[in-house]
Amino acid sequence: MVKKQFVTFRIDEFFLGIDITMVREINRVLDITDVPQAPDYVLGLINLRGQTVTVFDLGVRLGMAPRFITDQTHNIIFKHETIGLLVDQIGDVVSVDEEKIVPPPANTGTIEAEFIEGVVELENELLMILAAWKILSIDDGIGE
């Protein structure tokens, strides 16, 4: 059985996960410089030890309302791209049998279905696994 680990977090009531191998770090660098005229999901830039990281409002990216920054807010920084995701609350790292991951249901609530790669039933909750590539992809307005 192949186990996969996911970093879990929350956006509103949704319980989401992202493949841990894609994550460089989780931090609370919230001194964000906004970038006027950037796509709405781009919150701004942060300084991560001398490197600039573009932070996305994951809520907006997934088609929901903009986030409010609270004392629970965290950034999940990707490993290979200088991009971070701002989330409401960070959860545990969970291990999941790869076989138990099933395709997402047709109805994923307010989250746009294309961002969900699969879902897995945990003990008491449904974990939605994010399609990281889709989040990182750039819509240049051609397809949308």
């Binding site: 970038v35 005229q37 600039t52 750039i138 051609i142």
Partner: protein
Amino acid sequence: MNTINDINDDAAIDDFVTDFKAETLEMLDSIEPDLMTLEKEKGRVSKELVNRIFRTIHSIKGGAGFSGFEALKSISHAMESIIIQVREDRLTLNSEDIDVLLAAVDKIRTMISDIYNSDEISYDRELEALERIAGRNECKAAESGEEPIVERKEFEELPAASDIPAHYECEEDDDMMDEDLIKDFVEDIKDLLDSVEPDLLALERERENVSPELINRVFRAMHSIKGGAGFCGFEALKELSHAMENVFMMIREEKMTLDPGKMDVLLSAIDKIRLMINRIQTSDQVPYVEELEALNQVLHEDHTALSSKASPPPEKEKTDNESEKDDAFEIWLDNQPRSVPEPVPAVNARQSTEQAKSPTMSDTIRISVDLVDRLMNLAGELVLGRNQLRQAIEGYLADDPRINPIIQNVDVVTSEIQENIVQMRMQPVGNVLNKFPRTVRDLTRQMSKEAEMIIEGGEVELDKTILESLSNPLTHLVRNCVDHGVESPAERLAAGKSSVGHIWLRAYHEGGHVNIVLQDDGRGIDSMRVGEIVIEKNMFSREQVVKMSESERLGLIFLPGVSTAKKVTDISGRGVGMDVVKTNIERIGGHIDIESEIGKGTSIHIVIPLTLAIIPSLIVGVQNRRYAVPQINVQELVCVKAGETSNQIEKIGESSVLRLRGRLLPIVRLADIMGLERIFVHPKTGELAPDRRRRVEDRRTPAERAAEKQALEKVNQKNNRKKPDRRQNWRSDIYVVVLKVGSNVFGVCVDELYDNEEIVVKPMSNHIKNCKIFAGATIMGDGRVAMILDASGIAAQAKLRFSEIKTEEQRRKRILQKGKAGAQDSEQQAIILFNNAPDEFFALPLTGVARLEIVDPKSIKVVGGQEFMSYRGDGLPLIRLETILPVNSIPGDPDELFVIIPKTKGPPVGLIVSRILDTVDIDIAITRHVSSTTGVAGSTIMDGMLIFFLDIGEILQLFEQRIQSLAPMSDTTFNRYQDNEQTVNTEEING
């Protein structure tokens, strides 16, 4: 093959082909996804995408053509021909077509991976398929101007790899040469070759009176190459350099003079040597028969004093026919009895290589660029760290006196490290510029033109990365220059120029930037023609083009798809070149401008920063946000005092403008550009409140102000204390940063001005690449990220109407000048100066003249003693001055006469004069002579001429009297005329 790659990978080897290889591979990687997208989008293809594909292919073609990889060139040419049709919406590609294109991309990739043998890779199938697609459209629409690709035939005859004579596949040297030794040898020879080439060109120029020093230098270089090659056992290289050495020997002994044909042979041999050097381990397998044969022919020709100079340079007959080649090979063997086992003593060879090596060994080392780049980044971080440290310990400076000297020391050292590393990356621009004389020479020969390139300022230094990315655009420009700029010798002579065109390439420092100017004395660019093309292609409307200034119209040439070339050639004409040039120059933070005068030549001005890594910037603030503005764009800072806003800022059309020393600059608010809600700092409370002013120049109307004042007074009475008007508060001052983008200057209003800082540019993520108003991001001393503003992006975003404002500016200038002139001399008036008899001058006020006509005396009809000419479909009665005034008559029998039609109330009359001389502004101080006859208002002396001012009213009166004195008139025209004259005259009298 591995060894070649190893050598090629060595970053120290700076070679065009290596660059080209790497670039092309990169481009191929980018083109594939683009092609897929093209397939997906089909009908609704985005222009940007097609342009990108087109540019990429064009660059590959250009590079291949330039480096002489024929197969590569023709396949990419075929691809380009397809894409150009797609771009012009004449062709839609289906999936099969994309397959073909992708297959072609794969083939190019194969060719690139073995570039030197690329001509031997078969690509007929791909080419055929490509042509089918390109041709499909031609069948459909016969009017399409696309030429079918014809080059294919000649390539079918290319020899297969097996054609290379087996003789040359020498055994690899077994006694393993020291790798380092070979590497040194390679480097040395490269240096030598680089120095030989300009020397050769000089040789060609000097011809007869070659300086011995020059020829000796070339000879020595060749000898060193030969010696080194012999020592290291590279036979092919040795033979070739030996043959060249022989030729130089002849020249040295003055048994031979160089002509362009021989020069071609020598240069192509140099190229072959270069090629061998690049793949030194397998150099013996490089076919070089052709060059060798040509060299020997050159040698033989002069040696046996056949002096058949008319025979074309052998290089031209590039027939790769096998039998001929074999023949040639035999000739060569006959001619070279001593060539193969040439006993070059090993000792000598070692000496010569060491000789060449020794000066470079002592004071320079070769470092990989990668290492310098890393060091550069680290230095950038160090600067950042220093800034942060300085801010962090600012508070402790007073507490401990030891800290300050330490921090100062760190300061100095850090700056010096940075400067030195920047210095390390600096290279003289000559490295890039010096290859262009050769380019120009080859191109001019190819096109039977004559041109000379003059390079100045080759010693100016530039950052290596900038220098590298400058090479391609400059090549494009130089190519354009020769192809379109310089005319054919005949054309030049006809235009009164010397038959040899001149191309200047100058580099110089100015204001912290490097300027590169490429100038030619060719035919220039017709900006109207550029305009026409743009209109034809539906990029702009005629109206827009007409409104543009000359330089704006010339600037259109940088748009994709615009070319003034009438036909597409190998060298240029597709209209991509200038687009690529501009894109490339702007990518390195530079700017390009073009000036041209028809018939006189074109001048292209490129301004580029010294280095990219660290840019001095001005930090400005808008609503608690900080932005960096590169100093290169900042022209000056203007503070508009709160009370003076209305004097300095106004509105023209839709734009706010700032009046600055007689100039009008469009201004924008940075906050508006950013789409931020405007706020102001309340002067009383220091709180932030939304700013309700809609425009910079908005101020309350006097009525509102009065009302406000009253209200304020009431409040003051209540509070019993005085408050200054907010608008007079210093916080309401407006700071304007005057930015310069090319020739356009505009102002940006900001809230705060901070210090100048040296910032390190951080790249922007792809997600925010579309924000054109930013050039990048940086990290400030306090650790926060700040965006770097892009001046041209801001100008574009604000849709500044430069031309409109410029027109207004010019209009005002004119008024101002007029006003000045008027103030100096209020009595000035424009007059028209003419004569009747050649020595008698007359004048009329220009304001009293309705029209001027030229008339053929033969067409003047005489009716009842009165002359008439036809004017606007009617008869115009003509007045001859001599008939009514005591003046001399128009002499002789002139070919043409002038008719002045004065403004009259009634039907027009014409005043015949012999010549109209000029219109001048003149003082109206006219002396009215006592003796003045009727019809003459007075006279004045100007430039020694006595000028009589005519009184048009009186003249008409005289004319009338004359008519009446003529035989009784029944002509209705005259009656009508008389009636009307009467009224005019009454008025005159009354007036």
